[in-house]
Subunit: 405 residues, 2 copies
């Protein structure tokens, strides 16, 4: 008899952790497991802002998939997902078509540019290893160009970040620390560099603890970051960004605009005919789609409403990792005809890094942290994940142990 | 009584060595010495190809001027020379005007683009720290872009070098060694990269020993370099270069064209009304201009015909450094009303590097070297210069001691 075929799409936080848990909990003869991913590596999305700023090399952020999966138990296919055909129980990749008995969709997010003129073409984003690395090189190239120019173009030294949410703020923290190094490398006067954050709300980190948001702004302002709150990006060009504040239009000359103000679920989900809400699949409490009992959704493609406030849970690594427990458990339960469990997120804590030696965080929804204590907390969270993912050897290879500065 | 004022323009090989020698040989009350240079550092022009390829950091190549001059004996002015007025014995800088009693012109070279369409605008050159660094960043940026592109543009991975003389060949050697590292850094298949050299003569290193030129081509071809000899660059665009060979036009798609096929003396020399020959000042045997007995010319701005073959001596570091002996000696002689000496170059040897672990060289016009012996010879030459320039402490700081690989 043919073994049931479990296909996992995407090796982000949700997909890779589901794979690791299944390879540990299932017997060899219970199922065939296939993991599909565009790249041959998993990466820590929450570290990309460091790669983009050039403060951490991208090879620290990515982990070869073959180093963490057991290839005797899991088939790995490096390919791109083109379409899911849930009626036929098939997945079309660019090279082959796969049939599945149980599917896990963990295809992550894309930048959402909301139709803002020129944003898709001209703004950089921090969403994967390749675009983070490109942003690092773009900034370095502009600094080198400025240094070599006879007639100096100040826009080469301006960096505009659209969005003061977690990604925007964490990138600001890193780039603010990186600027003095860049200025030394390219013989540039630090005072000529401008880092400007544009945020639609009246404060950065909207929805986060107001005291900690203010702490974050102060910490970044002290390092030269300028904030323009209550402002919207209207147009993005290769040499400037046009913003609107209080019904006034402001032109900011810049060769570097970074869009960190919106993500949406991978558009393959919508294209594949699933019922979506804000581009995501609103899953049942057991993490399956309402329409297909053999399809699980995890991470940024899954929508779960928090019953306490009627709002969706945020698309975080923390939640994706917690979901992988339930998805892996429920797949095993399906195979063994046992009862499925419900997902209940536990928000342990949230920490926003503000560069190598500052951070703000909140634990158990009540304890506030900032400064070095919060940076230590952040590193503990990161290291715990590595331990779960690849055990002690991975932790040693990729962990962050520079606790004190 | 006012001390005579010696002004030295340019801190290249000739200018800085003249300064160092004068500060050693003159008494404090004999003269006032002023050195003028655009940057606050001297750099080793013969190492720039390594900075441009990214195999050596540019801070290894440059030396802060204040570290090597004795500021009690030499005034250093960081400024740009705008015009020399030899009739008035004045030099116009962008900020001030200086009067001199004795002038040394050591303003070096510029790229000569011979009116080839688009070359000045679109080609990179390897002539100073800033444009070498820009070229390094340009190549890295293109590799990062290629990696991130959905629709790949192969021109981003093509590097075309116009000119197979010393600069071109030495850059080829470094970039050929650097490509595997770049491919690893940016996740690119090495086989997609093309490095193409365009040379007008039938062989590279024209005028050099034919056997060693062939050795150089073989060494570089073995590392993937393609040579198109007997070909001319006709046009340079941001995305391609157009060459002509055997009356046929070839379009080579490339985002990176490097022009290493021609230099001319700094154009300030011509603008300042000196009689020039090929843009240079043909100096007397004592290194002074025929028209002004108080003006010395050194390095790439000076033209000296080799009586043996009627050809000008090549514009090399070796010759500039030898000239500085005579210029410094003759300035002292002028001050002390002694006899001036004549310059007689001694071509000790010539070595062309082919990357970190290969080179070709000729010593005393007869002994041929290649492979590791030639690389050792090259490093000995480089280290001797550092020792002369800044003594043992500079040699230790900037010397090349990785003799064996």
């Amino acid at each position: 008899m043919k073994k049931p075929h479990i296909v996992i799409l995407g090796a982000g936080y949700g997909g890779i952790m589901t794979t690791i848990k299944l390879q540990k909990s299932l017997n060899m003869n219970e199922a065939e497991i296939t993991l599909v991913n565009k790249n041959d590596y998993h990466y820590q999305t929450t570290w990309l802002h460091e790669n983009a700023a050039g403060t951490l090399h991208h090879d620290r952020t990515r982990i070869p998939i073959r180093n963490i999966i057991n290839q005797e138990k899991v088939n790995f296919i490096q390919d791109k997902v083109i379409l899911i055909k849930p009626e036929e129980k098939k997945v079309k990749l660019s090279e082959v078509e796969l049939s599945y008995d149980i599917l896990v969709i963990g295809l992550g997010f894309e930048a959402a540019t909301f139709g803002i003129t020129g944003l898709a073409e001209n703004a950089f984003s921090i969403g994967n290893i390749k675009n983070a690395r490109l942003l690092r090189e773009h900034i370095e190239y502009n600094f080198a160009k400025y240094s070599e120019q006879q007639e100096k173009d100040p826009a080469l030294l301006h960096i505009v970040i659209g969005g003061g949410g977690f990604t925007g703020i964490e990138f600001l923290g890193e780039i603010a620390n990186r600027i003095p190094e860049l200025c030394k490398e390219y013989d540039i006067d630090k005072n000529l560099v401008r880092i400007i954050n544009i945020e639609g709300s009246s404060t950065v980190l909207p929805g986060f603890d107001p005291q900690l948001s203010e702490y974050a702004m102060n910490s970044l302002e002290a390092r030269g970051v300028e904030f323009i709150t209550g402002a919207l990006v209207k147009e993005c060009h290769p040499d400037k960004v046009i913003i609107e504040k209080n019904n006034k239009t402001i032109h900011v000359p810049t060769a570097t605009t970074i869009w960190a103000a919106g993500v949406r679920a991978n558009s393959i989900v919508g294209k594949s005919g699933f019922t979506t809400n804000k581009g995501k699949i609103e899953v049942l409490s057991d993490m399956r789609t309402p329409d297909y009992k053999d399809v699980f959704v995890i991470g940024d493609c899954a929508l779960i409403i928090n019953p306490e406030n009627g709002e969706p849970y945020p698309p975080t690594a923390q939640i994706a990792i917690q979901q992988s427990d339930i998805v892996a458990h429920n797949i095993k339960a399906l195979l063994r005809r046992e009862d499925l469990e419900s997902f209940e997120p536990i928000i342990l804590g949230t920490v926003a890094s503000l560069g190598q030696n500052d951070a703000v965080g909140i634990l158990n929804n009540k304890y506030k942290f900032y400064g070095w204590k919060a940076t230590v907390l952040k590193k503990i969270i990161d290291n715990r994940y590595l331990l779960k993912l690849g055990g002690f050897s991975l932790l040693i290879k990729k962990g962050k142990f520079n606790f004190f500065y």
